[in-house]
């Protein structure tokens, strides 16, 4: 192997970052839902999906979306149920579900607010919007759901709205109309009134 000689330097340390909490043992990292089985409608939908793709494995992502909607998030049981419904190994489904960020591995609020803080949005004040979201909902980014179950907040990467940032997404609807404080307040107010589709709907 022709790797260049390593310069006489040390590995960067983590000193500037807070230490991460120790991870639980494998198999205990995934959250569990109260319900353990797919609803009959969701099961039928997954079986219908499986028939539409060239092979059953290809239906893994769409099936996980169905399970996420059914369980509210992708719990350990959701993954096991998807594996069973598709007839693919559980390990495959665990691997896929944990690889993709849009499968939420823990419960989220009725309104899951995702704020883009990537460069284009950041240049136009996304950090301030994220702070405001946290302040107004009382939920810190990456945490939630709030006690009333209404909110969870997440910082996400580019939502492809760079030209009209800062942008955010509520559940699966992108809001990119130059979100400022007034616009944010009207979005949150509409959520409180129940004008928007709740998570999973």
């Amino acid at each position: 192997m022709n790797h260049p000689p390593s310069p006489d330097t040390e590995v960067p340390t983590q000193e500037s970052r807070p230490a991460a909490a120790p991870s639980p043992a494998p198999g205990r990292r995934l959250s569990e839902s109260a319900r353990r089985q797919l609803s009959p409608e969701a099961l039928a939908e997954i079986q219908d999906l499986a028939a539409r793709y060239p092979d059953k494995l290809a239906a893994t992502l769409p099936a996980l979306y169905v399970a996420q909607k059914d369980f509210g998030f992708v719990s350990l049981s959701a993954m096991q149920e998807v594996a069973k419904a598709l007839g693919v190994p559980e390990g495959h489904v665990f691997g896929v579900a944990t690889f993709y960020t849009m499968f939420s591995k823990k419960p989220v609020g009725k309104y899951h607010i995702q704020v883009c803080t990537n460069l284009s949005c950041a240049l136009n004040g996304a950090a301030r919007i994220l702070e405001k979201v946290a302040e107004k909902t009382g939920v810190q980014p990456g945490e939630g759901p709030s006690e009333d179950g209404l909110w969870s907040v997440e910082e996400v990467e580019c939502l492809a709205s760079c030209g009209s940032g800062p942008c955010l997404q509520v559940n699966h609807d992108v809001y990119d109309e130059y979100v400022d404080e007034a616009r944010l307040e009207s979005i949150l107010e509409a959520c409180r009134r129940g004008d928007y589709r709740p998570w999973g709907a």
Binding site: H3, T9, S16, L57, M102, N118, L123
Partner: protein, 449 residues
């Protein structure tokens, strides 16, 4: 489908004239423009398809070669050449072939495919049918990023309209050729924009890039010969067939033909999408069209082709926006996302933000990228936190050569682009950060936590 208010710029003085042909953004801004009726009545819709279906498949590929169209996804590979890599036995049809459209638009600074899907989904559908005919494909797949749920609904409605009109399904327009298009939704992984990672994701696996060879044209989706093209590339196909490849090749610069969508974001007065012939100078785009700096402060740095393109500083603002010149100037045309930063932006913070993105999005398969991206992020974070050490800069500069070209895909190289170029062009800002524990520039900055 939710009605969206859209405040972005799509047009400018002179747009739609011979100098600035309007091929991709036809009717953009009009929410009713997406229907088949609007496309057929106003934009010569599906005429190119009828023309193509009267031609031999190989002749369609020939038109694409004559157009010298280069892929709009980032690498700028010749589309006609790529199509010709597919197995040639169109007579015996021993191979089932697939066409995949890459709509996993995730590159920070890029928002062009979205506009095509929003306002001109039929143009993409028509392009995909023509491409499917040229390569005699059995199936077309559109891989959309997971966030584009409303666009998936819109595209599926457009596909249904096309089916009803006989453009898709069995025996298309009496040719005896069967073809259909399936929309597939990703789930939030940037790496799935890489073509082999996309194929893995399409097959229901983790989006990890594959080792090549075999190339997708030999064994791609579901083991079948597959061509992967970007949304914008495929949406250009009807225009090429309509006007003829040789005529299309007259637009733009030699070897860099046609128009493409440039998305301008960041600190400019009129951010938005601008369709321009390749070779248009960067300062014309950011000053004349996008209105220059929105803050009144001079522009310091521009990223010309999405987050992975190396930065340009003021001396390169005259650069023509085409694949070859940008490469010669040490950057790349990439996906056409132009991010503009003014004098007060702290380059360290900006680069850290991008480094954090790439560290997060590395799939973890190849060690240089998995570890290297995190190293770069941690070193930058340390400098940003005021704990940087003078030797950190040499350590940081030593990483890109040890990451790029040592991985299966280009994500590692992409992560190195901003870091490497910023270190070369704005080293004084890094040194200032280390010496004074604070930013070189004042004013509002991209924030990091």
């Amino acid at each position: 489908m939710r009605a969206r208010s859209d405040l972005q710029s799509y047009t400018f003085d002179g747009f739609g004239t011979e100098r600035f042909p309007n091929l991709l953004l036809r009717g953009a801004g009009d929410p009713g423009n997406w229907t088949r009726r609007a496309y057929e009545e106003k934009h010569e819709g599906y005429q190119a398809l009828r023309k193509a279906l009267r031609m031999e498949p190989a002749a369609v590929t020939g038109e694409m070669k004559a157009s010298e169209l280069r892929g709009r996804g980032g690498a700028g590979f010749l589309t006609g050449l790529k199509w010709s890599f597919m197995p040639k036995d169109t007579e015996q049809k021993t191979h089932v072939r697939h066409l995949v459209c890459n709509g996993d638009e995730g590159e920070p600074g890029t928002f062009k495919d979205r506009a095509i899907l929003e306002y001109n989904p039929h143009q993409l559908v028509e392009g995909m049918i023509i491409a499917g005919w040229a390569m005699q494909c059995r199936m077309g797949f559109v891989y959309l990023r997971g966030e584009f749920l409303w666009l998936k609904e819109k595209l599926e409605a457009a596909l249904q309209e096309a089916r009803e009109a006989g453009y898709l399904g069995k025996d298309i327009l009496g040719t005896g050729w069967d073809y259909d298009i399936l929309v597939y939704r990703g789930a939030g992984a940037y790496i799935c924009g890489e073509e082999t990672a996309l194929l893995n994701s399409l097959e229901g696996r983790r989006g990890e890039p594959r080792s090549k060879p075999p190339f997708p044209a030999q064994a791609g989706a579901f083991g079948r010969p597959t061509t992967v093209n970007n949304v914008e590339t495929l949406a250009t196909v009807p225009a090429i067939l309509r006007m003829g490849g040789a005529e299309y090749a007259k637009i733009g610069a030699p070897g860099n033909t046609g128009t493409r969508l440039f998305g301008v974001s960041g600190q400019v007065k009129r951010p938005g999408l601008y369709e321009l012939p390749l070779g248009t100078p960067l300062d014309f785009l950011i000053n004349d069209l996008a209105g220059g700096s929105s803050t009144g402060r001079p522009i310091k740095a521009v990223i010309p082709g999405g987050a992975s393109a190396p930065m340009l500083d003021a001396k390169d603002f005259d650069c023509p926006l085409d694949f070859d010149t940008l490469k010669a100037r040490g950057s790349m045309a990439g996906s056409g996302g132009v991010i503009v930063m003014d004098e007060d932006v702290c380059i360290v913070k900006a680069v850290l933000r991008l480094a954090r993105f790439f560290a997060h999005e590395s799939c973890g398969q190849c060690t240089p990228c998995r570890e290297g991206c995190h190293w770069m992020m941690q070193i930058l974070q340390r400098i940003e936190d005021g704990q940087g050490r003078p030797e950190d800069l040499d350590l940081l500069a030593s990483l890109p050569p040890r990451i790029s070209l040592r991985t299966l895909c280009a994500l590692g190289d992409a992560a190195c682009g901003p870091v490497d170029s910023a270190l070369r062009k704005f080293r004084h800002e890094f040194e200032h950060h280390i010496a004074h524990k604070t930013c070189y520039a004042g004013g509002p900055r991209p924030a990091n936590r």
